[in-house]
Structures are given as structure tokens and as C-alpha cells.
Symmetry: C2
Subunit: 242 residues, 2 copies
């Protein structure tokens, strides 16, 4: 593990380091404690660990709620190298999009490949920070594909905001997820058919799970849903133990 | 209009009166203003204007947010007389339930009949209190069947919590509803088939509408949904005008 110096951005201390060859960023309040809640923030396809949406969520979780937040670059994202298979997926998605063809099926296959590689990386990052507080997860689209595989394997994550995802591999992972979930669906999603998203929600084994559906396309999740997601994580990660 | 003396229950002033022959109860904070938000609370089938769930919501809206709240007894509910047609509906529902048969279709027909009568009553009650603040509506099941008809006819209502309802007549009303809506669906509702509830959500003409689906039967809406509903109304009824 190599570590970069801590900086403070908009009053929020931020620390960047590598776990293996995975770039990690950790945001924490200034007051020391190892029992605070930690939220894992997974970025979407083509984005990176400090994309504006990730950064905004991290800052809100730290500044409003005193949580810690952690993000990593997914395989082939941020500054990380792409495999030749990654290059083929990205080229295929670009060609389909340029031709006005549906990209959903290829994106789904690419996300499965990324999720398989990302799960051990997230687990190693979680081992590294050695938090003793409750852990939540927040990721939609590619971030949710990764999150479902992570939640299926990782009992330390006890609440998750997921969504904008469907398909067979994610649904198989969902059947092993038992943590409470808020699942976002865009009712007119051009990448994830409504029935596929609803089938994924149905596949979740979680006793507490809530589907939030809004009109609009993949990227048009209304801002109030991010506030609701934050409220959901706060409710679950700050509840009295037991 | 005849009026009963004001009383105070758990610190919340409560005033009961008749508008025509409809019993109305109005809860308001002690501080006088006619611009505060008002929420119309519609009870469910077989309940009445001061049923525990209605009372709890009214008290929270007044005590936490400084809103006013108003409830009425629906036709044939609370102390109000039933028509012979009402008696036939109630007897039919009871017989079907006793025989383990689905009551949904008869409930739907009964609710349509009640909604047609309840809309002018709600409008008269709203005229009577002559509020100058924004108006919200909160009702599920029978309360939502009434609410959809009211919202289709009444431009003063600008945000609504609805749900646990489906069917053709409510869907026709929904097509004329344009106010923002949170729509609650119980995924395993024994009275409202999932597809019927989703079709109703789709029928809403509202630009902002969100479906919240949770596992469980008709009466098993999780408590966190009532908090979310309250947050939705607070967001819409206290927003800056324009």
C-alpha cells in the first residue's frame, strides 16, 4: 500500500492511496473515530472515483452526517489500464451507439466482466481501511452491477442503494443479497428494459427492499432520489445496533 | 355550517364542525396565519376521520411542520348513514371475504360510487376553510380512489400521496391528474393486482410522479414510507412559489 498526502477539499479531508494497483480515495470527518459509518461509492460506466456525482455524495455524507466515504476506480476506468477484452467491449458499445443500436446487452456483458474483477478489489480496500462501523454501498448502473456481486459475497455491507440495472448475471447475484436495498428504476430507461429492472428487484432476497420508479431515461434520475437515498443510508447505518 | 367547541389533543388544537351534513375535523397550529400549507387526509375503507393513522399524521404535520390538516368522514363512514346501495356493497364484500374470495373488484366498484359523492364534499370543506396556502392530499386505498377523482377536478390540490389502488375508473381520473404524486404499491397486494396498480401509476398525467413498491400485502406498508410521504408533502408545499 502506497499513500499520497492528505488534502482538504471544501473542508472535507481526502486521502488517496493504492491498495495493490487499485487507486482508492477515502473521505473522513476531522474528528477521529473508527466506529463511524462508511459508505462505498461506486461510479458509473466511463466515470471514475472522483467524478462530480461521486464527489458530491462523498462531501454530503461527511459534512452532513459525519460518515466516511470511499471510492475506487473500477477496472479499466479512471487511470487504470484496459485489457484487450475491455477494449473490445468499449469499441463494440461505441459502434452500436453510433449506429443508433441498443447498447444494453453488450453493456450488461461488459459489466459482468468488470464486477468479477471489482469484487476482490473492493474487499481488499475494505480490509485496508479496517473500519469498525457499519458499511453501506451506493452505486447505480455499472456501479450496481458491481454492488450486487459485492453484496452477494460481503457480509460487512449492511445497506445498499442500487438501480438502473437488469439482466441475468446481476439477477443471480441479487438472489444472494439479503441487506436492505433501495432500488432505483427509470421507467423509460433506454439501456435497461423496465421488465428486466423489475425482475432484478424481484430477485433480491432482501427482506426490506423498496423500488423507486420515476419517468425518464437512464441518466434522468430526479435529484430528490439522491436525497432519499442518502436518507435511507443514514437511517440504516445510524440505527441502534441489534 | 354548525361548529363544535375547539379542543386541544396532545397539544394540537382540533376543531370539529359540519359542512352541510359532512363531519369535518381541522387541526391547526396555535399561531394564526391563513397562508400555512393544508393537507387533506382521506381515511381508508371502513375507517373514519379520526382513525388512529389519520390522527397520527395530522398531529405530525401540525407539530413537526406547522401545517394544518383536515379530515372528513367519507359517505357511509364514521357516523354517516349508508344508502341501500352502500349496504349491498358492504354485505357483498363481507360475504366474499368470508368465503375466501377476492374482494378487489367489488371494492373497486364501491370506491367509485363513494368517490363520486365525496368529491363535492371535499370541495365544499375546502371552500369552507378558505385557506390561502398550498394544499396537499394524502390518502391510500379507498382514500386514493377519492383522491384521484378530487385531484382530477380540483386545481387547488398541488401535491398528493396516493396508492394501494387500481382499476378502470381510478385510471380514467388519473389521466386528468397533473400534480406531483408519490404512489405507493404493495407488491403482494391481495386486493389490488400489481399490474393494475402499475397501470394506474402509468395513467397519471403528472410530470413528477414516483412509484414506491414494497413487498407485502395491502395493509403492510412499511412505516418508513409514511415518513417519506411526509417529506414529499413538506418538499412540495413549502417550496418557494413559482
Amino acid at each position: 500500500v502506497s499513500s499520497l498526502p492528505e488534502t482538504t477539499v471544501q473542508g472535507v479531508p481526502e486521502r488517496s492511496f493504492l491498495v495493490g494497483d487499485v487507486p482508492v480515495v477515502l473521505w473522513t470527518p476531522s474528528t477521529p473515530t473508527d466506529h463511524r459509518p462508511l459508505v462505498l461509492l461506486a461510479h458509473g460506466g466511463g466515470q471514475h472515483k472522483k467524478a462530480p456525482a461521486v464527489l458530491a455524495r462523498a462531501h454530503q455524507l461527511v459534512a452532513r452526517h459525519g460518515f466516511a466515504a470511499m471510492a475506487v476506480d473500477a477496472p479499466g476506468h479512471g487511470g487504470r489500464p484496459r485489457t484487450r477484452q475491455d477494449e473490445r467491449f468499449v469499441a463494440a458499445i461505441r459502434e452500436l451507439a453510433a449506429a443508433g443500436q441498443p447498447v444494453g446487452p453488450v453493456v450488461e456483458e461488459y459489466n459482468s466482466s468488470l464486477a468479477a474483477r471489482a469484487v476482490p478489489e473492493w474487499r481488499a480496500a475494505l480490509d485496508h481501511v479496517a473500519t469498525r462501523g457499519p458499511v453501506g454501498f451506493w452505486g447505480v448502473s455499472m456501479g450496481a452491477a458491481i454492488g450486487l456481486s459485492l453484496l452477494a459475497a460481503e457480509p460487512r455491507v449492511t445497506a445498499a442503494v442500487l438501480g438502473l440495472v437488469g439482466g441475468e448475471a446481476p439477477a443471480r447475484a441479487a438472489a444472494r443479497v439479503t441487506a436492505p436495498v433501495v432500488f432505483l428504476v427509470q421507467w423509460d430507461d433506454e439501456m435497461v428494459p423496465r421488465a428486466s429492472a423489475v425482475a432484478l428487484f424481484d430477485a433480491l432476497a432482501s427482506r426490506e427492499k423498496t423500488l423507486h420508479a420515476n419517468p425518464g431515461r437512464h441518466a434522468a434520475v430526479p435529484a430528490f432520489e439522491w436525497d432519499a437515498a442518502e436518507g435511507f443510508l443514514v437511517r440504516h447505518l445510524t440505527a441502534a445496533p441489534g
